[in-house]
Symmetry: D2
Subunit: 334 residues, 4 copies
């Protein structure tokens, strides 16, 4: 990810100009304002603006005239309480605005989060640069395993896999022989050559279709149809803190596709700088938490009483039992 000199200069100009404000301000986040934070091979996240901080959440929760509570320890207690009990509206009172450069297939997943504001760079009116995502070779070597797992899962439902984001990885993590099934280094290199080759050829056709001073072309909005899904696009994305947490709960998760997770991971860092109390509560009560079904609770209660419980008499499906064991490895022990 390297920007040309003109863009670098524009960013430096923005970073250099400061103002005095009465608004809630977060120095740790100011530090990286406007800077491109690299993601994948050519993508980035830039924090453009933000509204509010941890204290603003407390202030809104209490509909107060001044700041939140008098002490940080009180703020922490209330934020923990709010996260724990899923009182979402105070978190909606903070907002962040990002400039993101990302492959189109990632953008297609990302935009499914509808409770956000988006302004995308338009390939109807502008020409896209020859920039596309090519995965890392080591990462590609791990892919075969995942594919097998996906196929396996599909059979659960008789025909095709459900339109379900978490299926693949959920399986692959339980696939003990994963390591042995790595793609050969040569095969992985070939994959990269294939991706590179077809992506370049697609861009070449795109440029040809656009025409030039010598040769007439077709409209940009039409020519773009030959671009590949790994072409990079850009957008401004603005979201409130509650919906950002929801995005992160789904996308910073091990079941998310690697490429969008890479963006979510960078956003986790941004979160920690911006609202450290909320970030800590989020990790304790959401990311690190687990939801147990009525039957799973029953299983644990029986085990706590000292009873032996088997999968068969638990009422849980094989998948549920596996997920429960992943959280409580002690379960099988009795």
């Amino acid at each position: 990810m390297a920007l040309d000199a003109e863009k670098e200069a524009e960013i430096e100009t923005l970073r250099a100009s400061t103002a005095t404000t009465r608004r809630a301000t977060v120095p740790a986040l100011e530090e990286l304002l406007y800077k491109p934070l690299p993601v994948l091979d050519q993508g980035f996240v830039r924090v453009i603006d933000y509204m509010g901080d941890d204290a603003a959440i407390v202030q809104a929760a209490r509909v107060s005239y001044g700041k939140g509570t008098k002490q940080v320890s009180n703020d922490r207690g209330l934020i923990n309480y709010l996260i724990r009990h899923r009182h979402t509206s105070p978190f909606e009172m903070c907002e962040i605005k990002l400039h993101v450069k990302l492959p189109i297939f990632v953008a297609r997943q990302w935009i499914r989060h509808r409770t956000a504001n988006v302004n995308e760079y338009s390939a109807r009116y502008s020409v896209l640069d020859r920039e596309f995502y090519v995965p890392d070779q080591e990462f590609v070597r791990l892919q075969k395993v995942e594919r097998k797992a996906a196929t396996q899962q599909a059979s659960l439902f008789g025909e095709a896999a459900p339109a379900a984001p978490q299926v693949t990885a959920a399986q692959s993590t339980t696939n003990k022989q994963g390591r042995e099934e790595l793609l050969e280094r040569d095969a992985a290199a070939q994959v990269l050559r294939d991706i590179n080759g077809i992506s370049n050829r697609s861009f070449t056709t795109y440029e040809k279709l656009l025409g030039d001073e010598e040769r007439p072309g077709i409209a940009r909005e039409l020519a773009r149809m030959v671009l590949p899904l790994n072409a990079y696009t850009q957008w401004y994305w603005k979201v409130d803190l509650h919906n950002l947490l929801h995005f992160l709960a789904l996308r910073a998760d091990s079941h998310a596709q690697y490429e969008i997770r890479a963006y979510a991971d960078v956003l986790m860092d941004v979160l920690q700088r911006w609202v450290p109390l909320t970030a800590a509560a989020f990790e304790e009560y959401r990311l690190g938490a687990s939801t147990l079904s009525a039957r799973a609770i029953e299983v644990l209660r029986r085990r706590l009483k000292g009873e032996a419980v088997s999968r068969q008499d638990s009422g849980l499906s094989a998948g549920e039992w596996r997920e429960l064991e992943a959280v409580f490895p002690e379960l099988g022990g009795l």
Copy 2:
């Protein structure tokens, strides 16, 4: 809750006229279409229309050309999977439309669920009938306890209670002396007389402000300002199944205020008729489920290994420990 003859007749006309359709149809729900289902003293819920059924969820999840899967057992398995893994979009593919009559203070809680369509009877243009909610005497007797609990909770945050729906009841359930603190029967009767008295007086002033053929009055939109919050209003409310489940998860909960819970309870019955597989999954994986924080999981794991764990060395707050014990009474046992 009694409707006048004209309205009864309108409803009967609607119920009597049927048509042939190719759409997904649910006989158990058709049975009660348009009928007012009584709630509180004068309120109701009427199911006006619905779209989809359990099979339609599967059909959408699979983006299929025909129905869902071939067998109900497959539909059940997929629906359980979708609810369990919080794949919400297939549930958004079903929709229900209700006509609800409810006290204004309940309407004010209800409307906080923004992801729904609402058309409310307008007191700007129409005159409201003299109808207001008066609680049941036995119910009023239980109230004092809750108030004490709320005050107690408030002190956690130093000054005022947080804008937090679940506080009161969460506390009151742990208040062991509850029973002894019932309001005297006489005091409760006085409460009802007070509510009745002021509500009637407010409606009388409202009617006076409106004027009549003899005496000029002021605009309806202005006169309504003296109406009490227990006056009944009405609306059409349309929501998709995913957002209905979210509404029910919050409002069919013991922490919700009694009056809105009364509506949620009726809607739970509607849910069971409409989408029985989804209703069952919802009870297993949401209503009957519990979310454990990272530290709570640690506590349980230590106990499963046979270690003694006290509140003090658990890292949990008093409130968290109490909530964990409510789910796992065996916890304290060691």
Copy 3:
């Protein structure tokens, strides 16, 4: 609207503390940050925070690395273009957060705008102060006229008036005898006494129901049901600029109820300080604009060609013709 000394002090503390920021900053808006701007007899609007400015809209529209365009005149041109062609997403990139104190019946209209974030002061957990709205006497004198107009409109639809916000005023503005039908000064004074009397009595019952140290009471969440709709509530309300403009287009309009318009008028001033280019475009292309139907366009075209056009051969309904004449008084002239 007078705040107690403690709140004044909290506000002063907030206003006194400033920080340095790299974010887009608007000095004209900073000036009134946190200050209560009075509305009605006891209400207010306080600007708590904001994100973005006119340049940020351009910056988002262009998905740019630096600021918007190089020159203000270019920014103005683009903003006019965006408003004119209803490109809404760039305006969603600015956000404002307000603390509002308002009568409950106004809050009930306001919350119908669902695309915003709200945190309301909770009468479930807190006791409301004895504060209620009483209109101005001169304003009350004008009310009778409006009511007549509303009744008249209702008959258009055979039975009751539609649930339609603009009906009343639309009519009243065309009601030429309005002036003569003012409420007598004495009658208006009586109206105020009635509103004051019943509101005070409702609060007295409310306080009685709550109980005190001597006498047991009922839960706050239950006691509040006797409060009148003119009681003041408070909330934090956060909205993006696009949705704020939509709110203003509906509520700063002459058809809106006077009380919510009073808030909209204050927000128009805030808008002009915050994003002056957008505010100007909004007045030119939305507030001052008019949408003509296909048939209304036909009428104007015929008149431009010099033809005489009567209501009868225009194809317009009486209401449409009246609205067209209101915009083009010259129409009838031929």
Copy 4:
């Protein structure tokens, strides 16, 4: 657009099974339920389900116990009134669910309408068929003109074109020499060969990356990144009538890209079958309507008074003047 025999059979099974319902039913729409309505070369729209009809809008607007009004003429009057005065909530009370097959670049525009429910066929778990969109040759010949116009527009803003959907076509309609600048028939044929060639090659690489029984491949979610934007995808899309009208106002417009307009045109036909009164009102008061700015109104008023008005003394920009003349060709006449 041809479906295989299995899918045809599934659809026939659905169409053959009917039920009795008390719900509002629209025979004209029932007729085409589940049938694929062809769009572009391989796409389709299938109506899967619907809720409500014209009468249901009236019923909701009046929060009534029975049907809407007694007579169709009253329903028509109220629906016209509601559309004209932008009372949107009654239209939100109807809902439609579609199964759509569409090129990915169209899906990317479509999904910008956030107020809808979507379930897309997942290329993370399923393999996409070799189906991609290739435009019609005559259509391609018209493209060059549009591109030139876009470039021209861009210069208005100094650097790049704004992210503005309507720019291109707005310009091209005023470009009088359009006809002469058609692409040569040979050049157009070459464009099609290029699109076909690269699309096929992309799918071949995709299939290679997936591997087969002999050769290991990579995960589907990763392999899909080489697919072109003209590959066909599918989704279930559910939307309420108000938001469908908003979609159609933007996408059935001459400024929309041809390919999404093709879908909007089919949906206009669906609309007319489903809610004929609403469809007529929509054409009269939205599609055929025009919004005039404050200054444009001033221009017309002056002309109606017989004054001469030139672009220069109108206060309108060149673009605004051109747009006003497009609606009122008589304007220049004086």
